[in-house]
């Protein structure tokens, strides 16, 4: 076994470990990582985030346990002090010695602190580590105490990092002043015009910018009180954050005689090897092509190259030219720069668009022959960045009228760049993780991935800076669409099964709680897809009501009512078959009146009462239940109604008692949970006034019995139900319905109604007839007894909820107060009330 020692546990050092783990070579290598900071590697790019939420662990690239789980020994808070190349060992600050076969230097960089007079004064900080931020924050607090005016903080350096630092001090309640030596902000990325736009935007946000200022002294006796630029020029500030560039942390290499650049940095070749072939250098300490690259993406690529080289994959070499394009949101302002942001006249010409009233600036640089995009700058709106960047990276042809690249998106609202699928497979989409378009689209085409989250899990695209997310989303969506795919077979990232498989597992292993399911066959902590799904399975297996595990239910099931657009609920009592007595109608009227509910007749022959506040639901239901009502399950993926025409009870054409049979069926299947809602209908003759063939099951009275139809629905994609059996009596109807419904519940995908389920069923309606009528699978008696046990276990869940204090207690808007939600506003609508319209 060989030993690799990684010196440095920053983003690039971590990435080396991650890429190593991904190659599954840990049996042949032992990895030892030394980090100087006390924490495991964290995301320095999002450092200012730490000020917003103060959560250091959220920034971690991986938790400490990850290293141990992957056989990586991580030693933090320990600096490596010497490299002994002859003995291939290193020693640490407390004189421990370790030997290596390969040494990877990922020591990164430190902030460059210019030798300005007074730089050692109290109140001068650098911006690099979480500890730096904590020190800045602590000092800011002491400044703010007892101060009416916000204290002022200067940031020395108007580059990327300096502007991030300015945001951080602004978030701490200080007045930020950015001081830059150059005549523009972000001098490497922006031209003067775009810098002006950015400066204006920053000023409107309260960030002061001082350009063309050479700081020659820091004044103050013990602590800083100001900066002096010239003899008569300066600003008074209470704090200074230095962000004037980086210097590679190359001291280890210097003392052991590795080849160095004249201005620092460890010289590496395109294998990331230093002048000693067993020592590699990656990240901001490595001098490649005579350049130090202070961006994450090239650092990650270097890590990939070093891993490959060590594992003997010698083909993988560092790219010759490094893409330094950047896109970021600085204090809410989009800023992007790609390729050659500035254009020497001998190479091409620039097309500019500027709108000062909207703080917008766009620039593209075009080759003289007008065929290629060489680079550009976007400030204020960077939505076109991904497409422009791809055009640039892949030398793709551009429109003859090149200005369409930037103004197309303004005049007609969409860029004239065509489909994302037009870019070549080799085009790099995520530069942080080196993911190409092919890497994203091919697994979808092969069926290995079916969703954005699966693609991200497989490729790690979007997990770096996140800038490519819109592009990756488009690629996934358009690829899926091009394959005509929408459905995803497995449930979600937590359960690697189809609903049918999960149903089987729960049944066999008698799983009845979500935690048991996670422990037995899931991973992670669940989500809004798998929790209601499991709840539905438990209900189908044991007739559990949503009261049993309320938190895994969708909100409608959790509160046994239908949420409406202002967060209030509607109440639907069951009115079987649509038949209702005068007394019950009066009760509904009284309840509606007492609680100011808006009432409307539904499509399923019942009455919906809208606008009930969460904390009113138990009282409303108490009144309804006392009058003999039950839950209508309008909120559930369950049996809704069995609609009927009036049948032979009154109708002169009626062949049978459709109302009576509809009531019997609704009473039988009420409370039955299923993959999606189920509706039924019973018509007393072929005139079909109950629209039974537009339902999941429908019965039509004919000479000699009932015709039974299944798998129809109305809605967005109407389907007529298909004939399952003819001229059968009531008992046979029930028998077939038991079998059919139970088979559907067992086998359908989540949220799949009976019509698409039948389309997916191999053999279609004739196969269903074989199973249900001829019992070809010999499961009919099992299906019937499963259904019977569900019917026997039925109870009205609203009655259950209001009779149990613990269950009832969840129907409150505030846990600590009896008050109503004071955010609700109702406005009159004809003779009733409705919620105020949404403003957005």
């Amino acid at each position: 076994m060989k030993t690799i020692i990684v010196v440095g546990n920053g983003m690039v050092g971590y990435k080396f470990c991650e890429k190593f783990v991904a190659r599954q070579a840990s049996n042949d290598f032992k990895i030892l990582v030394f980090g100087e900071e006390s924490r495991p590697a964290y995301d320095r790019v999002r450092l200012s985030q730490y000020f917003e939420d103060g959560n250091a662990t959220a920034l971690e690239m991986a938790p400490r346990s990850w290293y141990a789980e992957n056989n990586i020994e991580l030693i933090t808070g320990q600096r490596v002090t010497d490299i002994h190349r002859s003995s291939r060992t290193i020693s640490t600050m407390n004189d421990q010695t370790f030997s290596y076969d390969y040494l990877v230097l990922a020591t990164g960089s430190s902030p460059f602190v210019p030798p300005i007079k007074g730089i050692e004064k109290e109140g001068v900080f650098v911006y690099r580590t979480i500890e730096d931020l904590e020190a800045i924050s602590a000092y800011a607090r002491t400044l703010s105490e007892g101060n009416m005016q916000p204290p002022k903080a200067a940031v020395l350096g108007g580059g990327l990092l300096g502007l991030e630092a300015a945001k951080a001090v602004m978030d701490m309640g200080l007045e930020p002043h950015v001081v830059e030596f150059a005549p523009k902000l972000m001098p490497r990325q922006l031209d003067r015009r775009s810098s002006k736009i950015l400066q204006g935007k920053l000023a409107s946000l309260g960030i002061h910018v001082h350009l063309n200022k050479a700081t020659n002294a820091i004044i103050g006796s013990r602590a800083i009180t100001g900066l002096q630029f010239g003899e008569y020029d300066g600003i008074m500030v209470d704090m200074l954050v230095v962000s004037a560039g980086i210097r590679p942390r190359d001291e280890l290499a210097k003392t052991c005689g590795l080849e160095m650049g004249t201005r620092g940095g460890i010289v590496v070749n395109n294998k990331m090897q230093t002048s000693d072939s067993s020592i590699f250098a990656i990240g901001e300490v490595a001098l490649y092509n005579n350049m130090i690259y202070g961006l994450v993406a090239p650092g990650y690529e270097m890590a990939e190259v070093a891993v490959s080289q060590i594992l003997g994959d010698q083909e993988v070499l560092m790219s010759e030219t490094i893409d330094m394009s950047t896109k970021l949101k600085l204090i809410g302002v989009d800023v992007a720069s790609f390729g050659e942001p500035f254009m020497p006249v001998e190479k091409g010409y620039a097309i500019l668009f500027e709108n000062k009233t909207k703080d917008l600036y766009k620039r593209v640089n075009i080759s003289h022959d007008g065929t290629k995009l060489l680079g550009g700058i976007l400030v204020g709106d960077a939505t076109d960045y991904n497409r422009l960047h791809q055009l640039y990276l892949n030398d793709l042809p551009i429109p003859e009228a090149a200005e369409e690249l930037i103004i197309g998106s303004i005049t007609n609202g969409s860029p004239s760049l065509g489909s994302v699928l037009d870019i070549p497979d080799v085009a790099q989409v995520c530069s942080c993780e080196s993911v190409t378009k092919g890497d994203i689209c091919n697994p979808i085409k092969s069926g290995a991935c079916n969703s954005l989250s699966e693609v991200i899990a497989m490729t790690k695209a979007t997990t770096g800076c996140g800038g490519c997310k819109p592009m990756v989303t488009d690629l996934v969506d358009e690829t899926l669409a091009s394959l005509g795919k929408e459905v995803q077979d497995t449930i979600c990232e937590h359960f690697d099964y189809t609903r049918q498989e999960l149903y089987g597992i729960c049944k066999v292993k008698k799983i009845s709680t979500f935690d048991q399911a996670l422990a037995t066959c899931g991973k992670g902590h669940g989500c809004e897809i798998c929790q209601p799904l499991l709840a539905s399975i438990f209900a189908s297996l044991y007739n559990d009501t949503p009261n049993d595990e309320a938190v895994i239910q969708d909100t409608n099931d959790r509160f046994l009512a239908n949420i409406q657009r202002n967060g209030t609920y509607s109440v639907v009592p069951r009115i079987p078959g649509g038949e209702i007595s005068a007394d019950k109608l009066i009760t509904i009227g009284k309840v509606a009146k007492e609680y100011h509910l808006y009432t409307k007749i539904t499509g399923g022959q019942r009455i919906d009462l809208f606008g009930a506040k969460l904390n009113q639901l138990p009282a409303i239901w108490k009144d309804l239940i006392d009058a003999g009502f039950e839950s209508g399950h309008a909120y559930g993926k369950s049996l809704r109604t069995v609609k009927s025409c009036v049948g032979s009870t009154w109708c002169r054409y009626g062949m049978d008692e459709s109302v009576s049979f509809a009531i019997a069926l609704e009473e039988r299947y009420k409370g039955l949970r299923s993959p999606h809602k189920i509706k039924g209908g019973v018509s007393g003759c072929i005139r079909e006034c109950a629209e039974a063939r537009g339902k999941d099951f429908g019965l039509i009275a004919v000479e000699g019995g009932w015709n039974l139809y299944v798998c129809g629905n109305g809605g967005a994609n109407p389907k007529h139900a298909k004939l399952l059996a003819e001229q059968i009596d009531n008992e046979t109807c029930i028998k077939y319905l038991d079998r059919f419904l139970m088979y559907y519940i067992r086998t359908a995908a989540p949220l799949m109604r009976t019509a698409p389920w039948l389309e997916k069923l191999e053999g279609g309606i004739s196969q269903l007839q074989k199973i249900v009528v001829a019992d070809s699978l010999q499961i009919a008696s099992a299906l019937e007894s499963e259904m019977q046990s569900l019917i026997d276990a039925y109870q009205c869940e609203w009655k259950q909820a209001i009779e149990n204090e613990a269950m009832k207690s969840r129907f409150k808007h505030f846990v600590n107060d009896e008050a109503d939600d004071d955010n609700l506003v109702f406005v009159p609508m004809r003779d009733q009330w409705m919620p105020k319209q949404w403003e957005q």
Partner: protein, 125 residues
């Protein structure tokens, strides 16, 4: 409506000046949310038992500005704890408040601590 949103800004633990006593642990369902009233604010509090962590955020969903997030389901996406709004299933990180499935504004998050069986929410004023 802007004014309602602006009453909610994230608080980090260092900035807490008031630990508001929200109630006893038993009042908070395991792995679910409830809404706590603090002055004129509504704060959603989640006892994420499976992770042994408590989270708090604004009850207001930035999508349609309704007070509903406490009624959302919680869970995780790539190990990141999240809440799904019950209205349109917009999801937000419980740690950073970031909208995970779109470009909505982030929601404000608040620190929670539990001491002697009492749940406290941290505010910065």
């Amino acid at each position: 409506m802007e004014t309602i949103i602006s009453t909610y800004t994230s608080v980090n633990e260092q900035a807490v000046k008031t630990w508001y006593k929200a109630g006893p642990v038993e009042a908070f369902p395991d792995n679910g949310g409830v809404c706590v009233k603090y002055k004129d604010r509504q704060i959603a509090v989640f006892n994420f038992k499976r992770k042994n962590t408590w989270y708090a955020c604004q009850n207001l969903c930035p999508h349609k500005l309704e007070m509903v997030l406490s009624r959302g389901m919680i869970g995780d996406a790539n190990s990141l704890p999240k809440v799904a709004c019950p209205m349109h299933k917009k999801t937000f990180s419980l740690e950073t408040g970031e909208n995970l499935d779109g470009a909505l504004d982030a929601i404000a998050t608040y620190p929670v601590k539990v001491a002697d069986n009492i749940v406290y929410i941290g505010f910065s004023e």
